[in-house]
Amino acid sequence: MKFAIFLGCNIPVRLKQYETASRAVLGELDVELVDIAEFNCCGYPLRNIDSKAFVLSSARNLALAERQNLTMMVLCKCGYGTLRMADHLMKENASLREEVNEILAKEGLKYEGNIEVKHLLSVLFNDVGIEAIKEKITRPYKNLKIATHYGCHALRPSNIVQFDDPVAPTLFDQVVEVTGAQSIYWPSKLECCGAPMLGINNDLSMNLTEKKLTDGKQSGADYLCAACPFCQIQFDTVQEMILSKQGADHHLPCILYPQLLGLSMGIDSKTLGLERNRIDITEIERFLSAV
């Protein structure tokens, strides 16, 4: 199994632990990763401003992966949704495709639509498979309650992103439960984390985050679990801001999925970058069963 790993702009700078943890976990599962240095912005931040610029930006990445005939594996849900949408638009709209390819041709690139874009979680679930993951679990969790946060841009619009059932998804819950943890039901599981409005309408952004945190806490979760840098930053860095501002009592730390999985595989917490999270998550190791 070989994938072109797409990190996007956020992870290498603000969430290095997501990258190191993912590489460690995928390494254990014999997934080969190829780094393409020429990858650029996925186009997500441009969608509000200029659709054609967004498609161009996305398509360049798709073309780079296609040149090496590699399936893309994206760690970010927004990046995933954006690349899937661009892939769809490039196939659906012939004149757009021509226009974009004409620009890409200046660099000797072209996107023909022959590769697939996958998210880290879908690679783990569909390509690696639950059974293969299970074999690697050496220290399953006990009595750990996890609230999975699916992330909007992975789920919707479902006809384009095709990640899982948009109304009753189970993919994320299944990959969580294979670690021995319990994936709980919580009403706002599929809701937005609030990140897109950060810096544009901070009150709205933080309100939505707070609602989710309260809901997760009330539903009995020990930890939130995310697999997207935007969501993670919202539940970690921004939660820290909310807590310091209001001292509210809905403290609910968020762990990145590969960190959760990695610990149960016996990968050390340093490689998984646990100490890099703003809100302490090291206590989660107490839920691990003894070796």
Binding site: D50, C152, P157, N207
Partner: protein
């Protein structure tokens, strides 16, 4: 005489320029961090910082950075071998020429008591160093004009730098060639050092020089007999050989000499070598005087930037020193374009033709802002667009060969823009378009349908999926599932229009209502509305498109 005057004038301008430029380091600031700090405070902070660094273990870091990044320029090597090779040729060759050739009286002849510029190894080395610079220049021209490295913008100052360097090198090279072939030069030297009186001897030495030293004489044509040449050789060894190696060793000048041989006598009579000498030293002095104001100032500012960045960090170091460091960084930028090559958003330039997207091209804008230059609203809008398209991926900072912390510069730039009323584009667009389309605020107004803008409907159709708004039958599913609407007790009051109402206003062609609604600008793009629409209206995509249209409109107005 002219030489001395020109030298002192150049040195004076250079000195004053240097003082002026360095003074700016303590006066300019980027963003709002240091506006309240007077120059005196910044100078004293710098002195304190330098002293405390020099007497700490950090001095080892400085030493390492000096050797690896300043002398060996490893940061350039890591990015691109050809560029590193090019720069090492130019920088190494020119520095050695400066020390060994231009300052030979002060350096070379002190170090080597047997120094003569026309003796080996000095003669050979001078040409070797010159060849390096010319090779470097050739690669620079190749990269900029033939290879056309993408996002490598060539500005006036890049042209000037290349031209000045080229004039110095070519004039020096041709000067060397003309001196090799020059008869008058030979005569002066022969009179001074050989002092021959017999006609026979004069002719023999001349013949020897014509044969072996490429000199062109009006008197010696055709083959000379062996006896005469032997005599000439004898005389040469007596009077000339002590100071003259064979001209072949000056391989570049020798090549020129060979090439100009047919016209050598005319050139000599026209005194071309004197003219070239004037061109050569005057250009050198001009370059010296111009240095503080040109791209060449990076020779001074870039090492300082590399060293400062190695031991300083925003948040930890004195903010006065951070401000000074940032002002130095403006001068340290060589406009090499490495940052733009690695910029994550650079490909967008093809679609949004605003060079301020590129980090290397944002620097001139930053310089203008830092110098307090009055910029028009239009210019500031362009800078705002470029600055906010940056995704903060830090790749520019990681690769900058002179160690500039570009990312910190961009965040300061954003702060400054916000202060000046140029915030994040979404916030700006929301306010600007809200002010323009105020109908939304008149809740009770009865709208006449005939005034609806039909053209607007046609505009909203660049993609087939966006056109879907027309099948909306107003079931309000989208609004029911919208987390933004759900966030408020009275969403209509806060948001103006709710999602289903925006779809409906589009059907009616009411641009005013759609643009002016706060809902449009507070949309999270979570796609709940679109997912739950029973009619297949691509609600979120329509909202995206409306925002795109609003930006297009605002750009046109500006």
């Amino acid at each position: 005489m002219l030489y001395t005057i020109a030298l002192y004038v150049a040195l004076t301008i250079f000195g004053l320029g240097l003082i002026y430029k360095v003074s700016l380091w303590f006066r300019y600031s980027i963003g709002m961090d240091a506006v309240d700090l007077p120059t005196s405070r910044r100078v004293s902070a710098a002195i304190k910082g330098i002293i405390s660094t020099l007497f700490s273990v950090k001095v080892l870091t400085l030493l390492r950075v000096f050797i690896l990044d300043v002398v060996l320029q490893i940061r350039i090597l890591r990015e691109d071998f050809l560029r590193w090779f090019m720069h090492m040729c130019m920088y190494g060759g020119f520095m050695l020429l400066l020390l060994m050739h231009a300052l030979d009286k002060f350096i070379t002849s002190v170090l080597f008591t047997d120094y003569y510029s026309t003796l080996n190894p000095f003669m050979f080395l001078r040409d070797l160093f010159g060849a390096l610079v010319i090779l470097g220049l050739a690669i620079a021209l190749y990269r900029r004009f033939i290879l056309k490295v993408s996002h490598l913008a060539t500005k006036a100052m890049d042209h000037y730098a290349i031209i000045i360097l080229a004039v110095i090198m070519i004039s020096g090279l041709v000067l060397e060639g003309t001196k090799i072939v020059s008869y008058s030069n030979y005569q002066e030297m022969a009179e001074e050092y050989a002092d021959l009186e017999q006609k026979e001897e004069i002719r023999s030495l001349e013949a020897f020089w014509v044969k072996e030293f490429e000199m062109v004489s009006p008197d010696i044509k055709g083959p000379v007999d062996v006896k005469s040449l032997d005599k000439g050789k004898e005389l040469h060894e007596m009077s000339c050989a002590g100071c003259h190696s064979r001209p072949q060793w000056a391989f570049m000048g020798y090549g020129v000499a060979k090439a100009i041989k047919p016209v050598a006598l005319s050139l000599d009579r026209a005194n071309v070598h004197t003219l070239l000498w004037y061109i050569h030293f005057l250009t050198c002095f001009f370059a010296l005087a111009y240095l503080p104001f040109s791209k060449f100032f990076h020779i001074i500012a870039s090492p300082v930037s590399l060293l400062a960045n190695a031991v300083m960090e925003k948040g930890r170091s004195d903010r006065a020193n951070i401000a000074t460091k940032q002002a130095i960084e403006l001068d340290a930028c060589t406009h090499c374009g490495t940052c733009s090559l690695r910029c994550s958003v650079a490909p967008v330039l093809e679609e949004i033709p605003n060079v301020n997207i590129l980090p290397s091209e944002k620097m001139p804008s930053l310089k203008a802002l830092a110098s307090g230059k009055e910029l028009s609203e239009k210019e500031l809008r362009i800078i705002q667009e470029g600055t906010y398209l940056c995704t903060d991926c830090r790749r520019c900072t990681v690769v900058c060969p002179v160690g500039i912390n570009l990312n910190d510069l961009w965040s300061n730039m954003k702060e400054y823009l916000v202060q000046k009323g140029y915030p994040e584009p979404m916030v700006w667009a929301r306010e600007a378009i809200g002010a323009e389309y105020s109908l939304i605020n008149m809740q009770d107004k009865v709208l006449s349908l005939t005034s609806a803008d039909r053209g607007f409907q046609d505009e909203v159709t660049p993609l087939a999926r966006v056109n879907t708004y027309s099948v909306c039958f107003g079931c309000e599913n989208c609004t029911t599932v919208c987390p933004v609407a759900g966030n408020y007790d009275n969403p209509r009051e806060v948001l103006g229009l709710l999602p289903h109402q925006i779809m409906h206003s589009l059907g009616l062609g009411l641009r005013d209502l759609a643009f002016g609604s706060r809902m449009l600008w507070d949309c999270l793009t979570c796609y709940q509305c679109q997912e739950h629409c029973p009619q297949g209206v691509c609600v979120t995509d329509v909202l995206y498109e409306l925002k795109n249209m609003a930006f297009r409109h605002l750009k046109e107005v500006a």
